[in-house]
């Protein structure tokens, strides 16, 4: 069968069936060259001219389908012409108009489609197509054709613009569909920009501005994905297409501004910002007064800050347009009027209207240079005069605040590269005013802000002037009232800003002043103000001395101070606590700066291993080796803890090689008594005393030194073994020491941290230790049968066991599960079952020892793995058949575990967990109750699933929380606060109808809690009660 025959058969089949595959086959035949379009037309002939409406429609439809599918190379010039005029002819036939449009749409894409064809098509469209009788998708085809023609044959259309433009206008008039409108707006813009439309401005105005403001909300399942924003943007591009719209458009905008919602107002402002530059200075100028009247309302009686901001931007746009070409703003007009209006309001700087007035002036600064100069020239002298006016003395603070805003606006409106410094002419006045304001308590903070704004203006303040500022600030630091947090924070902010630009002034004058203010002996017990001043000074130093050279000075000065305080001999009857506390505050300062420096990756930290860490060892070793009662430093746990932290921070960033040397001298000191190699410093260690902190017989103070040992060990790199003969036996002796010889929890914990860290990093050296734990330690020190062990010893041993297990679990060690499982063996032992149960959670609780920064080996998602292995077993045990003791232990384990792992790990189990958690609320331990409440809190807060499950238990929850919030029934205020907080969350996350039955009870019961002895509890009670008062259906 040859091509033409096949086409004929396919056409006939299609006329009967309407199947797509016939169309496709026909296209294949044409594409392969076996047949041609001519064949199609010939065969279709009878249908195309048929008297029957349906046949005609189908004929044209088939043809359009072929046209859209055929490759372009099969259309020669001649066929396009014929087809175009044929399809145009079909536009006046009501039955064929739709398929004809589809066909024409395909033709307009063809390269052989000429401008003459375009003109014909446009003419035919305008003549025959009645948009009102077409549905949305058909109108879309019409608009696509026009859009296509405009982009491809624009010049041809320009030639016929006389009837094309009005024809188009009436064609699209009344269009409502968002997808079509996007096309319309695009066409409108081209016509407005490039076509001769002078005579049709009003018509265009009618077909564009009628859509403003866009209030369209896309339906949830909009197939075309047209958003409100797309429409707004497209429309805006029409509204700002021609200056001719100005005189018509601005009145319409004004009307929308007086009547609209905040949303409309914002849209109008944004549109104005885009339109005003196009409409031009003359139009904008003629409406300036009316526009300002509207804008003023939004700025001075602002309903919300967002609209206010848009209004200010519009003011800027307006000013920019009107004053673009003017060299001076000092001529009657908008800027002058508004400035005067604002200055008038600024005469009362303390009143509320002064603020928006200043905002308006600040907005002017970001417009043209002349306006900005003029505004500053008016406002700064005006405010300066008010400041200096003795009658206005009480208003100096608000005046300074306003000045500060102006300075900031001037600073931020000048690009950094600009050589022009707007404030240069006013600098001396401003610096003068600010230094005056600085000396007065009430205006000090505002003046400091102002100075900061001046200092941060690039190119304004000279180096000498910076010195002057620092000098004046130094004077304020000495004032008693500068202790107030607000002022001291601002002072610090200013000084750190200055020292970032030029550290010499702060280094040269402020630091000596601060160091000088630190006494050599602590203020006496009763001297609280002096003490506060010391803390303040230290806080300043901490903030200012992060930078490497300044930090070096800080370390030198503070370590000298420490040696001085600790090295002097004290009388036994002297009150040593104030000095210890003073030393502590100095150590804390060093610690805080180091922490920040480590976070910022400062590279100078490692060098303080010799300069600081060794000196601290020297200080403490000196202290513990004194025969007399000079143990104030070494005996106070807080000092040891803070010093330990300092040591850890420095050691953790020390490189491997240096750590290796250091750890050798550390071990040599602690195990062999050769303390001099480690504790190098200015204090002379007594020769006759032996340093042997690990000896069971050592003094309490010597034993305390383990804290510092551990602090160094936990920060070692994995590569470094602790240089002892056998790691396993060292760990075992540490374990034994921690349980049997340590004398305080501080010492014990230090030992456990060291064990955990060494085991975690060097587990291959410690296999024997692990075997010993399982085979000896458990049975002799922990388990039920452990002979002759006291209950406290067994408890300590469980804690030690926990840390061992933690070290293994964190790195995902194979032996870890066996260690965990041991704990379940003692769940029936009333002496230690709570400890064992809590340990289950402690093992994966986050801690500060086994961390990446401290070089620990951490397996990813170890906590999740751990939890998913144990949770089913624990839930089973808590619900299960065991005796009551065991059930309680499982419940404790559950609360402890859930507290320690991420919520996602147990979220799917929530339905099972909640009843158990509610039971957990009845356990007597207040830590557990807080845990349970915070778990419930997390479950209620974030996900609806959790809330839904909890909604079923709302009665139980409310009763439990009320019980836990009363001081008579719950002595721990932490629990009371937690319970109240949780109770306060319920109205926000649970449906009101579930809560309604309890509302009255809650409000009534909470009225008793309002009388709690603790302020924090009362505060929560008030907030919670308000939440319940205001919740309703």
């Amino acid at each position: 069968m040859d091509g033409p025959e096949r086409i004929e058969r396919l056409v006939r089949t299609w006329m009967a069936s309407g199947r797509d595959q016939d169309v496709d086959e026909t296209i294949t035949v044409i594409s392969s060259g076996q047949g041609s379009l001519l064949n199609v037309v010939k065969t279709l002939g009878e249908y195309l001219t048929s008297e029957e409406d349906e046949l005609r429609t189908k004929g044209v439809e088939f043809m359009s389908a072929i046209l859209s599918g055929c490759p372009p190379e099969h259309f020669n010039r001649q066929s396009v012409k014929v087809l175009t005029s044929f399809l145009c002819g079909k536009l006046d036939d009501l039955e064929t108009v739709v398929p004809a449009l589809k066909g024409l749409a395909s033709l307009t894409y063809l390269p052989t489609f000429t401008s003459d064809d375009a003109v014909d098509v446009v003419n035919a469209l305008l003549m025959h197509v009645k948009m009102k009788s077409l549905v949305q998708s058909q109108r879309f085809i019409v608009l696509t054709i026009i859009d296509n023609l405009i982009s491809k044959h624009r010049d041809a259309l320009k030639n016929i613009s006389k009837h094309f433009v009005p024809g188009y206008i009436s064609l699209v008039n009344g269009e409502k569909d968002p997808r079509n409108l996007i096309l319309c707006f695009a066409i409108d813009r081209v016509l407005l920009l490039e076509f001769e439309v002078k005579n049709y401005i009003e018509d265009f105005f009618n077909i564009t501005f009628c859509y403003f403001p866009i209030t369209f909300r896309p339906p949830p399942d909009d197939p075309y994905g047209v958003t409100t924003d797309d429409l707004k943007k497209a429309l805006r591009s029409c509204l700002n297409a021609t200056p001719d719209f100005g005189p018509l458009g601005i009145p319409l905008f004004l009307e929308k501004l007086t009547a609209g919602s905040p949303m409309t107002k914002r849209d109008t402002f944004q549109t104005l910002v885009s339109c005003l530059p196009v409409y031009g200075a003359i139009t904008a100028g003629s409406f300036a007064k009316k526009l300002w009247n509207c804008l003023r309302l939004e700025i001075f009686q602002a309903t919300d800050s967002e609209t206010e901001e848009e209004a200010l931007k519009t003011v800027q746009a307006l000013v920019n347009v009107i004053y673009a070409d003017r060299d001076s703003a000092d001529i009657p007009g908008l800027v002058k009027d508004v400035c005067h209006e604002c200055l008038d309001l600024l005469k009362e700087p303390e009143k509320s209207q002064a603020k928006p007035a200043m905002k308006t002036l600040c907005a002017f600064l970001s417009t043209t240079n002349s306006v900005s100069r003029y505004t500053l020239g008016c406002a700064l002298p005006h405010l300066t005069a008010i400041f200096h006016n003795p009658d206005e003395a009480s208003n100096r603070t608000p005046t300074l605040t306003l000045l500060c805003e102006l300075i900031i606006a001037a600073r931020d409106s000048t690009p950094d590269s600009s050589p022009d410094v707007k404030l240069a002419a006013f600098k001396d006045d401003l610096l003068g005013i600010m230094t005056v304001g600085l000396k007065n308590e009430s205006s000090c903070a505002a003046a400091l802000d102002g100075l900061k704004a001046l200092v941060t203006t690039s190119g304004l303040v000279t180096n000498d002037e910076l010195g002057y500022v620092v000098h004046n600030v130094n004077e304020v630091i000495a004032e008693e009232w500068a202790n107030a947090e607000e002022i001291s924070d601002t002072i610090l902010g200013l000084l750190s800003t200055i020292s970032a630009h030029s550290p010499t002034h702060v280094e040269g004058t402020t630091l000596p002043l601060l160091f000088g203010a630190l006494p050599d002996q602590a203020p006496a017990r009763g001297a609280a103000p002096e003490r506060a001043k010391c803390w303040q000074t230290l806080a300043f130093l901490a903030k200012l001395c992060k930078q490497p050279t300044l930090f070096e000075t800080l370390v030198v000065r503070l370590t000298t101070k420490l040696d001085m305080i600790c090295g002097s001999t004290t009388h036994p009857q002297e009150d040593v606590e104030p000095n210890a506390a003073y030393v502590h505050s100095i150590l804390l300062t060093l610690r805080n700066v180091l922490e920040e420096k480590v976070d910022l990756d400062h590279t100078d930290v490692p060098k303080y291993l010799d300069r600081l860490v060794c000196r601290l060892f020297n200080l403490f070793a000196f202290s513990v080796l004194q025969p007399a009662a000079l143990h104030m430093v070494a005996s106070e746990p807080r000092l040891l803890k803070t010093t330990g932290e300092i040591i850890t921070f420095v050691v953790q960033v020390t490189p491997v090689a240096k750590q290796q040397v250091f750890v050798r001298s550390l071990v040599d000191a602690y195990l062999n008594g050769n303390v001099k190699g480690l504790a190098v410093g200015s204090l002379k260690l007594p020769e006759d005393q032996v340093f042997h902190p690990f000896e069971p017989s050592a003094s309490l103070f010597q034993k305390n030194m383990i804290v510092l040992f551990s602090a160094a060990v936990i920060a070692l790199h994995k590569e470094i073994p602790v240089p002892v003969q056998d790691t396993s036996s060292f760990l075992q002796s540490l374990y034994t020491w921690s349980v049997q010889h340590a004398e305080s929890s501080l010492q014990r914990e230090a030992a456990w941290h060291a064990i955990a860290s060494i085991l975690n990093k060097r587990s291959d050296d410690s296999i024997v230790f692990l075997t010993t734990c399982q085979e000896q330690i458990w049975s002799t020190q922990i388990s039920n049968g452990a002979p002759g062990r006291s209950v406290p010893d067994r408890r300590y041993s469980i804690s030690a066991w926990t840390w061992v297990t933690k070290a293994l679990t964190t790195k995902g060690h194979a032996a870890s599960e066996a260690f965990v499982d041991r704990l379940f063996e003692v769940f029936d032992d009333t002496d230690i079952n709570w400890d064992a149960a809590k340990a289950i959670g402690d093992i994966v609780a986050s801690d500060d020892i086994l961390t990446k920064k401290k070089h620990a080996a951490i397996r990813i998602l170890f906590a999740q793995r751990y939890c998913s292995r144990l949770l089913p077993r624990i839930v089973e045990g808590a619900k299960g058949t065991g005796n009551n003791r065991q059930q309680v232990a499982y419940l404790v384990a559950l609360t402890s575990l859930i507290k320690s792992v991420p919520k996602s790990t147990y979220a799917p189990e929530m339905t099972t967990l909640i009843p158990l958690l509610l039971r957990g609320l009845q356990l007597r331990d207040s830590d557990i109750r807080v845990n349970v409440i915070s778990t419930l809190h997390a479950a209620t807060d974030s996900d609806t699933n959790g809330s839904n499950i909890l909604a079923e238990h709302v009665g139980t929850l409310v009763t439990a929380m009320l019980e836990n919030s009363k001081v008579q029934e719950m002595p721990s205020f932490r629990v009371r606060v937690a319970a109240l907080r949780y109770l306060g969350v319920l109205p926000k996350s649970i449906r009101y109808d579930k809560l309604h039955p309890y509302k009255t009870t809650v409000i009534k019961e909470l009225s008793k809690v309002l009388d709690d002895p603790k302020r924090a509890v009362r505060k929560e009670a008030v907030d919670t009660r308000s939440n319940w008062f205001t919740c309703s259906g």
């Binding site: 602002a302 800050s305 309001l345 009362e348 303390e350 009143k351 509320s352 209207q353 603020k355 603070t397 608000p398 605040t401 947090e485 607000e486 017990r525 609280a528 003490r531 803390w535 606590e577 104030p578 506390a581 502590h584 505050s585 804390l588 807080r638 721990s972 205020f973 932490r974 009225s1007 008793k1008 309002l1010 009388d1011 002895p1013 603790k1014 302020r1015 009362r1018 505060k1019 008030v1022 907030d1023 009660r1025 308000s1026 008062f1029 205001t1030």
Partner: protein
């Protein structure tokens, strides 16, 4: 609506009242982390700062973006606390302020909800600060009239509007 005082005097709000307990204040030791403060049995009695904290952030009915503290309508020294008695004085921004009763009522409702029942609360305008001082004071301290006012749904909703921000306790409105 008539504006009683379109341009009132404002001041930058003082910072939040952050208080350490008496024990901490006398401590020799610098506390790093206040959350770690141990539990004590120390009783912290209700004082004027705490009452002020309760009412400072009530929204002014005329200036919806400002609080009573911003407008200096209430202040800590204007509050007195006795064993079972609280006395709150407030200052209308202008002597003809028609909102004074609503402000007083808002304070009354806030304290009604936030203070234990044992306290008798007395609310009055600063002497000489309002032209109908006596009438307002009488209205605010008459139980029956306060109760009747709160029966009025429009009035109650106006009060609730003012109280919506009360929980901020000095944090900024925005």
């Amino acid at each position: 609506m008539e504006a009683y005082n379109p341009n009132p005097t404002v001041r930058k709000s003082a910072k939040q009242i952050g208080r350490k307990s008496a024990l901490q204040e006398e401590s020799l030791w610098l506390v790093e982390n206040e959350e770690n403060v141990e539990e004590t049995d120390e009783v912290e009695p209700l004082d004027q700062d705490e009452i002020f904290d309760l009412i400072r952030s009530i929204t002014d009915p005329e200036h919806k973006h400002m609080t009573l503290e911003d407008l200096m309508v209430v202040s800590s020294p204007q509050i007195e606390v006795g064993d079972d008695l609280v006395d709150v004085e407030f200052t209308p921004t202008v002597p003809h302020c028609g909102m004074s009763t609503l402000i007083g009522l808002s304070i009354r409702v806030r304290l009604l909800r936030a203070l234990p029942m044992r306290f008798k609360v007395d609310i009055h305008v600063k002497p000489g600060s309002h032209q109908s001082e006596h009438a307002i004071n009488k209205q605010l301290n008459d139980k029956e009239r306060v109760a009747a006012a709160l029966e009025n749904p429009a009035l109650l909703s106006a009060v609730e509007d003012c109280l919506a921000s009360a929980g901020l306790r000095g944090q900024r409105l925005e």
